[in-house]
């Protein structure tokens, strides 16, 4: 039964995104795996890289909310109740986290080893 419900949601997302669902899913998995690899390799979070990833995450979150408004022909003035604000926050957090994870992982993969291991940097 649980499986059935999950497949139902996947079916809806497949209809929503068409062929793009699989590249998007692959991108999400790749970013997560890359983050895991970088963390295992470095054995710590690199503060400057994290800060830059977080700043990009902020932009990513804003872009996600802006994209939702654009796609749905709406604007912030259409938010009418607390649930609307919660939804906007949810979209911001999802967009922000996704961007931050991808940004940190990509920066980590391309970082020079010396930069990573320098203490306090």
């Amino acid at each position: 039964m649980q499986d059935f419900e999950i497949w139902m949601f996947i079916a809806v997302f497949q209809e929503m995104l068409g062929w793009a669902i699989w590249p998007i899913a692959a991108l999400c998995v790749a970013a997560t795996l890359a983050l895991g690899m970088v963390l295992l390799r470095d054995r710590r979070l690199v503060a400057p890289r994290l800060l830059r990833a977080e700043l990009l995450g902020l932009l990513g979150g804003l872009a996600a909310v802006a994209a939702m408004f654009a796609i749905t022909s709406s604007w912030p003035g259409d938010m009418g109740g607390p649930i609307d604000w919660l939804l906007a926050i949810g979209i911001f957090v999802a967009g922000g986290l996704g961007t931050a994870i991808a940004a940190y992982a990509v920066a980590g993969l391309f970082a020079r080893r010396g930069t990573v291991t320098t203490p306090g940097v």
């Binding site: 039964m1 649980q2 059935f4 419900e5 497949w7 139902m8 949601f9 079916a11 809806v12 997302f13 497949q14 209809e15 929503m16 939702m68 796609i71 749905t72 022909s73 709406s74 604007w75 003035g77 259409d78 938010m79 009418g80 109740g81 649930i83 609307d84 939804l87």
Partner: protein
């Protein structure tokens, strides 16, 4: 009542699914397909017919499933309002019928002309006779434009004449007429027929959308909007009707009660309404005509139609409202718009009706009783302006049945409900056609 923790998560998931019209009315059995040589005939490849065919394919093995419909294009009707509001183009609501039909279903591209439920056969316009063991009638309904004296569908889009329902091109033409009106102002007339109709919220939404577009163009002060209700209410569910009364008052949309469109003169832009005081002529600069709706002739003139009662005049199919099984021919099920049940001529109703009817059909083959019941659930994302809507969900008894109690208030204008309508509804609908939602 407190729910045990183990069911709370599942309930939350189901609530989310239900708001998108996803939640299953019939639990998935998880069983292997039933082997049967039954001949199952489905008339109509609209939302109900396609969804029924897909579900039967999933649950049966060896059955001979045949679908009769001549239309090659499938029309996503819930999207017509968005097309007529200039938010989507006509292509948004069109797709190919064959895209949703399994290879295990035989499609006869013809029109059902005669149903013989005694002899268990259907004859097509092309003269082909198709015998069946079980019949699913999903013909949809007939838009009776001819019942409005002077109405000419070919003129939709010109002379301020709009009609959202007639099809994708007509919805796009209606947008052009409404957009011209929004530039110039004048009198806009909105209405609904006195018959049963599909998505009774659609004409109300369109008045809201016209009001919004006038405001966006700074021309609301130049326009008078009038909604002509066929009876004393704006909506069949009293609590929703009262909310709409307040919103219309807020937006300055005047309401005439007991006004039913009888005739139209598109050249002079005059609409004639039947009222308790006699005919009344109203001039207009823009009008959204919603025609009377009846069962298609193939059902209306068959033994399947109601013989007495409120559904008899327009020939709706006489079914049990809980099971969708025909009252006199137990091997016949009628789903979707053609079903003679109170409420329920929406895609959301189809979502809930089809699994019930299919489960009863399969239970009959198996020789068991099905516990599945359709409670009249239907849903209407009532758009109140571009960017906001109310998620109105109700049942046969006029009860509000919100999918997110305490989270998405049914009578509140919300952005989240607009997003459900704009982003979530079409993919859910298409997944339903494929039997995957």
């Amino acid at each position: 009542m407190a729910l045990p923790p183990s069911t709370l998560n599942r309930r939350s998931l189901l609530a989310a699914a239900a708001a998108l019209g996803l939640a299953p009315a019939v639990p998935a059995s998880g069983q292997a397909p039933l082997r049967t040589p039954a001949r199952i005939l489905i008339i109509g490849a609209g939302a109900a017919g396609l969804a029924a065919a897909s579900r039967l394919v999933q649950r049966l093995d060896g059955a001979e499933i045949t679908l009769i419909d001549r239309r090659r294009e499938h029309l996503y009707q819930p999207g017509l309002t968005l097309v007529a509001a200039g938010l989507k183009d006509a292509g948004y609501v069109l797709s190919a019928t064959r895209d949703y039909i399994s290879g295990r279903v035989t499609l006869i591209e013809d029109v059902a002309a005669e149903i013989d439920p005694v002899g268990r056969s259907v004859t097509t316009e092309g003269g082909r006779r198709v015998a069946y063991d079980y019949l699913i009638v999903a013909t949809g309904l007939h838009l009776d434009y001819a019942a409005i004296e002077g109405m000419d569908v070919a003129r939709i889009g010109r002379d301020g004449l709009g009609s959202v329902y007639a099809g994708a091109e007509q919805a796009a033409a209606t947008w052009r007429a409404m957009s011209d009106f929004a530039d110039r102002g004048g009198t806009g007339l909105f209405l609904r027929p006195a018959t049963e109709m599909k998505c009774a919220g659609a004409p109300l939404k369109y008045a809201f959308l016209t009001d919004d577009i006038l405001r966006r163009r700074g021309n609301r002060g130049k326009a008078e909007l009038v909604y002509n209700a066929h009876n004393r209410a704006l909506f069949s569910v009293p609590i929703v009707s009262e909310k709409l009364r307040m919103l219309y008052a807020d937006r300055g949309i005047r309401v005439n009660h007991e006004h039913v469109l009888r005739a139209i003169d598109p050249g002079r832009r005059i609409a004639t309404f039947r009222t308790p005081q006699g005919d009344q002529e109203l001039g207009y600069d823009f009008i959204n005509v919603v025609p009377p709706m009846r069962a298609p002739a193939v059902v209306r003139n068959s033994p399947l139609a109601w013989q007495t009662g409120p559904f008899a005049a327009d020939g709706w199919a006489e079914v049990d409202r809980g099971t969708l099984r025909h009252a006199r021919f137990p091997e016949v099920f009628c789903v979707g718009d053609v079903a003679g049940v109170p409420k329920g001529k929406t895609a959301a109703s189809v979502k809930w009706q089809v699994p019930v009817a299919v489960d009863h059909l399969i239970a009959t083959i198996e020789g068991r009783e099905s516990p599945a019941r359709y409670n009249g659930y239907t849903s209407c994302p009532m758009i109140t302006r571009i960017g906001r809507a109310m998620l109105v969900e109700f049942d046969y008894n006029d009860n509000l049945v919100p999918s997110f109690p305490g989270v998405i208030a049914p009578l509140e204008e919300l952005w989240i409900t607009w997003i459900i309508k704009e982003v979530g509804l079409k993919p859910t609908y298409l997944a339903m056609l494929r039997g995957r939602a």
